[in-house]
Assembly symmetry: C2
Homo-oligomer: 191 residues x 2
């Protein structure tokens, strides 16, 4: 998505540790008008798939998942990190390793919200090493739901999570794939 | 908002500890079409205010804030709980007490995202005791921004956070105000 690549070049900042800071529009401040355009693009990319529900993970996935949900007119479920007291009943649950924080965390979804009739599109703001996405796919497996595909705003191509998913036969559509980045330049994979 | 009261009666569950579970549409699964209607209602309620930005807090505030942001065509900023490694630079910061978890947590917003020219609408999914909202108001104060008002989907009227804000002169518009609730019935404050 050319408009997203332009926005990353204009507003993104590269920080030490392979961090691409896009807090002005994607994951701290939300440029909601632009995000709704991203949602329409995700709908276009998956127009040949029957999708019944979107699954994302708190926190930063919620906004882009919602934009896609509005475009596709399907509900969004966001998986929660840790079990909190305002959840009741039974959960699908799995553990995910965070390289950013160096810790493991539990990811949970209420059993009421996913089942074997669902065709799920998984959405997140970033794919880097793909560990969070793989955790969501395990939750789908527990529910017996079908995975229609994976989409994200920004894929860090050099961290291989997206390509590893593709190699396992999963359809991954990222709106922008960063091939390399430095203090002075962000380069994108050619479509 | 009558449609929201109906939805709470139809889908909400009251759990021990004054918990109103609305995870089927508001804060675990998102009924995005309905949430966009809530966003339009918030726009209608604040149509006489000049609003430049919406401020909410992760996680559950993001979706309804985004719906209102789309309706009002303004950006949404979500305050973060704890400082994470993909934030850089300086932050407005304050501490909030969580009665649900019995702990204090830090709430931060990048200084780049709020300033003295902003007229802010604060939005959250719930107002209960109002501590999270009061924390966001302190962040606005640090930025020198103007508070246009506060809106939420569901106010727990019996926990007084909303009324305490109103008594201090703040405009609070909740889409539904629960006056009392039990296993068998949820009663709403008359408009």
């Amino acid at each position: 998505m050319k408009a997203l690549e332009d926005k990353i070049r204009a507003e993104g900042t590269v920080l030490p540790g392979n961090i691409l800071k896009v807090g002005s529009f994607l994951n701290h401040q939300l440029d909601v008008v632009f995000m709704m355009e991203m949602g329409k693009e995700i709908k276009r990319l998956f127009s040949d798939e029957k999708i019944t529900k979107i699954l994302t993970i708190e926190t930063s996935g919620i906004a882009i998942a919602m934009a896609a949900g509005v475009a596709l007119e399907v509900p969004v479920v966001f998986a929660k990190k840790n079990r909190t007291s305002n959840l009741s009943g039974d959960f699908y649950t799995t553990q995910v390793h965070s390289y950013t924080h160096g810790t493991d965390y539990d990811v949970v979804v209420s059993r009421e919200l996913l089942n074997e009739n669902d065709h799920i599109l998984i959405i997140d703001d970033f794919i880097a090493n793909g560990k969070a996405i793989e955790g969501l796919i395990r939750l789908l497996g527990q529910a017996g739901a079908t995975l229609a595909g994976v989409s994200c705003a920004i894929e860090k191509g050099f961290q291989n999570g997206g390509d590893r998913l593709r190699e396992s036969g999963i359809r991954v559509e990222s709106l922008a794939i960063v091939e390399s980045m430095s203090d002075t330049e962000v380069s994108f994979r050619k479509g």
